[in-house]
Symmetry: D3
Amino acid sequence: MTDMPTALNLPELDPLPPETQKYFDICAEKLGMIPNVLRAYAWNIEQLNGFTALYNTLMLGQSGLSKLEREMIAVVVSSINRCFYCQVAHGAAVRALSGDPVLGERMVMNWRTADLTARQHAMLGFAEKVTKISCEVTEADRKRLRDVGFKDADIWDIANVTGFFNMSNRVASATDMRPNAEYHGQAR
Amino acid sequence: MTDMPTALNLPELDPLPPETQKYFDICAEKLGMIPNVLRAYAWNIEQLNGFTALYNTLMLGQSGLSKLEREMIAVVVSSINRCFYCQVAHGAAVRALSGDPVLGERMVMNWRTADLTARQHAMLGFAEKVTKISCEVTEADRKRLRDVGFKDADIWDIANVTGFFNMSNRVASATDMRPNAEYHGQAR
Amino acid sequence: MTDMPTALNLPELDPLPPETQKYFDICAEKLGMIPNVLRAYAWNIEQLNGFTALYNTLMLGQSGLSKLEREMIAVVVSSINRCFYCQVAHGAAVRALSGDPVLGERMVMNWRTADLTARQHAMLGFAEKVTKISCEVTEADRKRLRDVGFKDADIWDIANVTGFFNMSNRVASATDMRPNAEYHGQAR
Amino acid sequence: MTDMPTALNLPELDPLPPETQKYFDICAEKLGMIPNVLRAYAWNIEQLNGFTALYNTLMLGQSGLSKLEREMIAVVVSSINRCFYCQVAHGAAVRALSGDPVLGERMVMNWRTADLTARQHAMLGFAEKVTKISCEVTEADRKRLRDVGFKDADIWDIANVTGFFNMSNRVASATDMRPNAEYHGQAR
Amino acid sequence: MTDMPTALNLPELDPLPPETQKYFDICAEKLGMIPNVLRAYAWNIEQLNGFTALYNTLMLGQSGLSKLEREMIAVVVSSINRCFYCQVAHGAAVRALSGDPVLGERMVMNWRTADLTARQHAMLGFAEKVTKISCEVTEADRKRLRDVGFKDADIWDIANVTGFFNMSNRVASATDMRPNAEYHGQAR
Amino acid sequence: MTDMPTALNLPELDPLPPETQKYFDICAEKLGMIPNVLRAYAWNIEQLNGFTALYNTLMLGQSGLSKLEREMIAVVVSSINRCFYCQVAHGAAVRALSGDPVLGERMVMNWRTADLTARQHAMLGFAEKVTKISCEVTEADRKRLRDVGFKDADIWDIANVTGFFNMSNRVASATDMRPNAEYHGQAR
């Protein structure tokens, strides 16, 4: 394998538009790397902008879900879909945000083995059903979320984070997207 | 059922920010309606903006895929996931763009019954595999697309359109999103 | 595609036996067409007679199920099996019998999105289970039907209508049976 | 369990119409029993007549398929659907018609372990695909049958026998239909 | 097919070590045959010894489960996995131990049709879940076993017998292991 | 969670028989821990002995498969079955034996993303098929293994290692077996 972020021959724009370059510079500074998913989209700046706008608001924006909760959903969805890129990148995020390396492993390997709160359990059960058989979701499923304290805005956010990784998992697997090597050792 | 675009109690912002209002006005004028998916996101303008930015570039932007091809992928993915909202809305788009009402029905009911070109067949077969078992996609699958003339940028776009509807299908089904009544009779 | 009702080279008997010709004439008069499923069986009159005898008693005979209920089962089963012929022909029947075009769409696309009575919901849930995993049906499933008012004769009829379309869906898909063009625009 | 042929309280007509009684008398004489499937339908003579007309022409009528081949399909389909009634009754038929008790067991337990001709293998492979995922059958599947010598009329018959047991398996399992005890020891 | 116990060319050691020969002689005397699974392992005496040690303690050793119950689990698991060898050999054992030939057939064909005690039903339901989706087993599943009287040691044994046949089914199917002809007619 | 190796209340024998104690002492010395799977079986020494005899010969005995290859199979099978215990313990073994931490991650997350030799690819593809649908394995599958150089003894070993983890995965998941904490950080 080469240094390309995917199996497709789609080199990033050179030079990048100034705003994109600035965004990548911030990533490099804050994260110590530019996540390959960004490099993969960087041949098409409009798509890159749409993707990052949606990602950033869903994963980092205001929400009734904590950042850890959103990352837990990300890993559980990515585990069901067996997306290598996202399990690696977001598994590292769960380890880092929780300070619990084993929790990251459990989300990757089998979320049901984790010692979860009722709220987390309902949230991940909903994410699993939406990932596997969304067409069978009914009001009873949403009620189960409300019963453990989620508000309608939170349900919306759970559905959207779940949906987002069902998108990015497929883009990553369909293009053989390769996670940055840095993730593997983080927060072990 | 009420006039709400989903089963969640998340009314759109009132008033909408001027840019959003302007966008909705354009929709109303061009389409004769504001698609309910936009109304559903309009309680959270950042999410609405991210969603529409990504949607518009993937479905309406520059691409080696025609708009009809992108809509065919949308309906096939939505049929696999049995998303009512997206089958209705994008089934209408396939009927309208192709001028062939039966083609829209075939994409909804069983795409394999359609009389497709080799290019379309490979494209929809790839979209189906990415939807059902993305983790088993390999270089051989991408090669099959190149063999019928797709370029790497096209493969990227097929993966992204497929991914996008795997997201929006799940958001719609998880929230019981309701398609505008206007779609049903269009282009029959 | 040609004018043949299936992908098999099995022309109908010529001339048809007088009773069959009379039956086809009645169809032509009443429906404005001879349904292609009948033309497909017409190379073998004994099979045609057996098929139509069973079809007519199950779908048009005396029953505790209304004709619309039987057609709803037909479409839900055909949607699970993704049979193009039967979704088209019986989707039109649901639209016509109910006077509700959207109900026909819902049966095709995702029956759970429809606004159903408890009786209809139990009936379609049973038809779905019998279609997908009949070997797991138990007394508890039959009890659920009795609890919403179905009699044992009705349960028998639900099982038989469900069974019938699990047969005809497979015959149609295995032979690439083509629905008459007239169905598509009916009762929209 | 009682003497009832199913779990439903639907006693057979008493007295039976003379033609039905005559048919049952012939069964009793030829088979030493009245198969419970006939007793189960005998509360509704029109349905009984339709069912037996179709059954008799498909399983006993003129065909390019031998009676043993049709019974092999019956058991393989019934095994996939795990229908107790049909595996028992038609497993006995395979044992009797073939004079090979182990062949009956193989059709019930795992048809791929049998030492089959290319013709039989193609036939059962097609029946399996039509049973499991009929919506994915294409011209390539029919070609494989033609390549081992099947004519289009034979393909039609394979599809119809396969379809028939996908119906009767579901009727039997949905109603807990009980096979006559006589079958178990036959032709061991 | 030849006299080889599997499709692999792995003849048993010749001569067998004295202890193995003695074990096989006992089998021949007690069972009237040397089960082919033992002959299949006899090219590698260490594996044979490990396999028989584990088999003998699980299936014949002290346990809160009766030998019939353990054989019922064996057949249900083997039926789910469609292992020809194990359904034949252990189906015969269920017939012999229960004195009820039909019970053996029910375990092979569809265990839900059997007239079971609450204890047996819970036991086989657990074995089925462990076979199909072990990763979703939770404390609630174990509780259901305790509720019908199983002790923790019994739950352990159910899990281990279920596990064992999920191993041996796969070894047998992967190597085309052939059951001794003697089993077919036993205890009919 | 407590210090118990599973969710079952089955304390190990106290004192352990001298041979078992000696075996555990060796484990403690060599591995720095007594693997919880051994502690879990230690309430029943006969079962413990059978399990370890089979495990040791399959995983550590003479074979045409390297120890790393056997561990790769172990992790791929455990990933398909989503067994937390075995993914943790054998994932660590793959990392240690290969000196490649990312390879261990790939076996856990999606083996198809690994850069494998033709031999390894065929081996893991066979293990996957035997795990998911062993009843469909045919001579063609074994031939594919021979084509990349595997001997019949190796095919036997692949089948047995695959089978073994299909057993132990189910025992572990059915009893909520907990991996020793030491594994998580090993060989990262």
